[in-house]
């Protein structure tokens, strides 16, 4: 074969991304920057999508997903982090909590764009915690 397409090759390509997604102690700052950036811009994207393509089912599903995406992402990160670095599960919970602050900031920042925005929806952010916290608790018993 002129090039390697083995599972080992594929796994090697994704390994750095998995490291970032699992709050690895070797690349913690980078992990937090990437995670925080995604959580931060989530509501900026959602704000635009909320008032566009009003008849599109796909867009509506996208808006619903983005409403809780940070919570699902953080839950996944906690579980992945616990599977790779179980001793760091309690500390990762603290980082996830900090990300909730970033999520709130991202929503609030939409007020810089236009006055007619809901800003951060604390109700749904709290619903998100009902997704993240169970994942975090599961991560603790991994």
């Amino acid at each position: 074969m002129p090039f390697d397409i083995s599972p080992a090759f594929a796994a090697a390509r994704f390994e750095p991304l998995l490291e970032l997604a699992s709050l690895s102690p070797h690349h913690l700052v980078a992990s937090l920057v990437v995670l925080g950036s995604i959580v931060f811009v989530n509501d900026l994207v959602r704000t635009s999508l909320m008032v566009t393509f009003t008849r599109s089912r796909a867009n509506h599903v996208a808006v619903m997903v983005l409403t809780l995406f940070p919570a699902m992402l953080l839950g996944g990160v906690l579980l992945l982090g616990a599977s790779r670095y179980p001793e760091r599960a309690p500390l990762n919970l603290v980082f996830a909590a900090l990300m909730y602050g970033v999520w709130y900031l991202g929503g609030t920042l939409t007020k810089l764009a236009r006055p007619d925005t809901e800003a951060a929806d604390v109700g749904f952010i709290m619903v998100g915690s009902l997704i993240t916290i169970p994942c975090g608790l599961l991560a603790l018993v991994f």
Binding site: P16, L20, H27, A30, V33, V34, S37, F40, V41, L44, V45, T47, S48, M50, V51, T52, T54, R55, R57, H60, V61, V63, M64, T67, T108, L109, T110, K111, L112, A113, R114, P115, D116, T117, E118, D121, V122, G123, F124, I125, M126, V127
Partner: protein, 371 residues
């Protein structure tokens, strides 16, 4: 927090246009001595370096196009936000895993900041008419002759919209209007009945996410009833218009009601009102209506207790206040008295709205002149 004016965003676009286009052109010309001076390793692949600077130069050109005509550059704005976000991520990735020199992080940080700036600008530019409707008072009505007859349309599962529309009606009547209120009746009346069961709540929620429409019985209101104003009230079901209210617009027989008529949109909900309002306005405009006002009224209470209070109300059919959060829990369901008073004021303001001057035939025959 006050919104940044359009000109600030435009100037920021110009700044990055100069930095990207001018900066990369200059960098490509002098990178060898500059990198040597800063102890930055020379590019291992000159072609890849040229391609990267060329790509970045192009983003600068796009940013300049956005600066020139922002409202016509939505697609370019999306592309630039995506490009800058990806570049910022790749820069960080290479710094962490491929020993990229710290010098390149400067560009990565710049692009990360501009990803946010472009996304904010995009949020400002999409549907500016909604911002205008939300920040101005009642718009001038159409030139259609006034009959002082108003039609209030909606659907009320928990009687919340009922109360809101009743107050709007009082305001309109105080302003001299004759008001007819008609609530849409869904054909699937067992599904959309109050109180809900958990199963029906889940079913309605899933349908709301997937935007499955709900057919309604034919409205008794007709186009030739002579309404000069229609107020459409909708609640929010999973971020969008309720299916029953949307059913009013999905029935083509109702289009005549809205054609050329002044329409006001009222969204009554817990907290997510923007998409419902945008959907209502879109439907009204597609039906030929003339939007004169939008309003939204939110349930009483503070988050997150307001959200959970709503969920418990929908499940149990009554106000349920857990003893643990007694101090913070909303004392009632629905709109506050102050909001209901405000809706009455809104109704009165609609009744006395200005009107565009009618077009009148000139006496010389054939030519039309506005007064």
């Amino acid at each position: 927090m006050r919104p940044l004016p359009l000109k600030i965003f435009r100037w920021l676009c110009l700044l990055t246009a100069l930095a990207n286009a001018g900066g990369n052109a200059a960098l490509y010309l002098v990178y060898e001595p500059v990198f040597a001076w800063l102890s930055v390793p020379q590019p291992a692949d000159p072609f890849a370096f040229a391609a990267t600077t060329g790509f970045s130069f192009t983003i600068g050109v796009l940013a300049f196009a956005i600066y020139l005509r922002p409202q016509e550059s939505i697609s370019a704005l999306v592309g630039c936000a995506l490009a800058k976000g990806l570049y910022a991520f790749v820069t960080l990735y290479m710094f962490v895993f491929a020993d990229l020199h710290w010098f390149w992080l400067i560009f990565g940080v710049w692009d990360a900041v501009y990803t946010v700036i472009f996304l904010l600008f995009l949020a400002q530019l999409v549907k500016p008419d909604l911002t205008a409707l939300n920040t101005t008072g009642i718009r001038m009505g159409s030139a259609k002759p006034r009959t002082n007859k108003a039609l209030l349309l909606g659907f009320s599962l928990t009687k919340n919209v009922d109360k809101g529309l009743a107050r709007v009606s009082q305001g309109l009547e105080a302003g001299g209007y004759e008001v007819t209120t008609e609530m849409a009746v869904p054909i699937e009346s067992e599904l959309f009945a109050w109180p809900l069961t958990v199963a029906r709540f889940v079913r309605i929620s899933v349908r709301a996410v997937l935007r499955r429409p709900a057919k309604i019985h034919r409205l008794s209101a007709k186009a030739d009833d002579g309404y000069d104003l229609i107020v459409v009230a909708s609640q929010t079901w999973l971020a969008g218009m309720s299916a029953v209210v949307e059913g009013i617009f999905e029935d083509p027989d109702n289009r005549g009601l809205f054609e050329g008529t002044d329409v006001a949109s009222l969204t009554i909900c817990r907290g997510l009102w923007r998409r419902t309002q945008a959907m209502t306005v879109d439907w009204v405009e597609r039906s030929g209506g003339h939007m004169v006002a939008v309003r939204h009224a939110l349930h009483v209470g503070r988050e997150p207790f307001r959200f959970f209070s709503l969920m418990l109300y929908l499940v149990f059919g009554k106000v349920t206040r857990p003893r643990l959060f007694h101090r913070f829990w909303p004392k009632k369901y629905g709109l506050s008295d102050a909001d209901l008073d405000e809706l009455e004021v809104f109704g009165h303001a609609l009744a006395v709205r200005d009107r565009l001057p009618p077009i009148e035939q000139s006496i010389t025959g054939g030519n039309e002149h506005a007064l």
